[in-house]
Symmetry: D3
Subunit: 82 residues, 6 copies
Amino acid sequence: MPIVNIQVTREGTTPEHNSVTAEEKARIIAGVSNVLLEVLKKPLESTFVVIEEVDLDNWGWGGLPVPEFRKLSSQPKSEPAR
Amino acid sequence: MPIVNIQVTREGTTPEHNSVTAEEKARIIAGVSNVLLEVLKKPLESTFVVIEEVDLDNWGWGGLPVPEFRKLSSQPKSEPAR
Amino acid sequence: MPIVNIQVTREGTTPEHNSVTAEEKARIIAGVSNVLLEVLKKPLESTFVVIEEVDLDNWGWGGLPVPEFRKLSSQPKSEPAR
Amino acid sequence: MPIVNIQVTREGTTPEHNSVTAEEKARIIAGVSNVLLEVLKKPLESTFVVIEEVDLDNWGWGGLPVPEFRKLSSQPKSEPAR
Amino acid sequence: MPIVNIQVTREGTTPEHNSVTAEEKARIIAGVSNVLLEVLKKPLESTFVVIEEVDLDNWGWGGLPVPEFRKLSSQPKSEPAR
Amino acid sequence: MPIVNIQVTREGTTPEHNSVTAEEKARIIAGVSNVLLEVLKKPLESTFVVIEEVDLDNWGWGGLPVPEFRKLSSQPKSEPAR
């Protein structure tokens, strides 16, 4: 009876895609449902998985929208991070 | 002060529609808010209802995206399900 | 296949209770599931309802924890609210 | 490590916009992340903020979709509200 | 950067436990994080998993609290379910 | 009308506390509500903030429950992280 909500940024894993593909979604659904079957013995039919894709502008990390945070994080630093 | 989040698949209840209609949303909002008024005496003005429509590909059931799960479930079976 | 998450404050509707009773929860579950059956034709067996009770201190309204907001709102005012 | 989910209606704060602007989202992300840094000492890098914009039709208040609720609320009343 | 929220009923997988064990939670966290690493190439350090255990009374299925739904579902039936 | 859900680990900011204090919750509620007032002009009375405290065992980061992830992260490393 588990309910799994997965929030990910709307972007592709390869340059040809700008969002999660249907095939990747199917693999996430299968993978996560199987984890709950193996660990908690939840039958596959009783697990719901909902994938929510979030625009990069709507996701904040480090106090910044993700695109800006990534730009900043990829810059060379003179001292080690964290 | 209740907050109600409702996730449903983005699809129609009749062949003419491919999503939940505005009229259906209004009826869901009215119905759910009234349940909370009747059972918990929450005034209508203090209840928020948010309906989230989820693409069929983004919803998993039975370890599969819903479209595949439904195809499988509707196939004749030689023995009773579950 | 709908998923309904309901957040309510953890408090009773009568002086004898300090939380939502099991009977009230059962009525909420029945009521909300029926709304989705009637409006969207979702079979009862495919609807999940999760009720989350939230301590009053953890719920904010009007920029204040709910207990303080209520105290303030119930005070007589010389001019109309909002 | 906090996770902040913010649901707002998809609408603009000025007549020129019909949704939250990227600049407003950036200010919300910065503001909320800073609150968690100041109050709970959570480093900015460990806070995720997700903004979810919800169509007006999908948001219920007062037992009505928001557009209808607002129309009703803005009508003159002969007696005080609430 | 994925955020995974997992809602499960608060109950054990074996008679000795009445909730999910710490070891089971650790396996769920590892399993789900690895699915996102494998499918979407998300580094483990950027995935948050939150497990929410929900009391059986607070979970509705089939229009009933789960304990009642299970009792009903396990009763012999003269015709196939669903 | 914004709804803000904040998930944080259940732990204190000082050695004397093992959870978020009522005073800290009040400051979070005030701070976040004010951000939405300033940026989106949402009146304080129309913003709901819900704080959910999550046990450390129920929160996963880096593929591990948070307590284990922190132990690992605080160990000296011979090479820079990430």
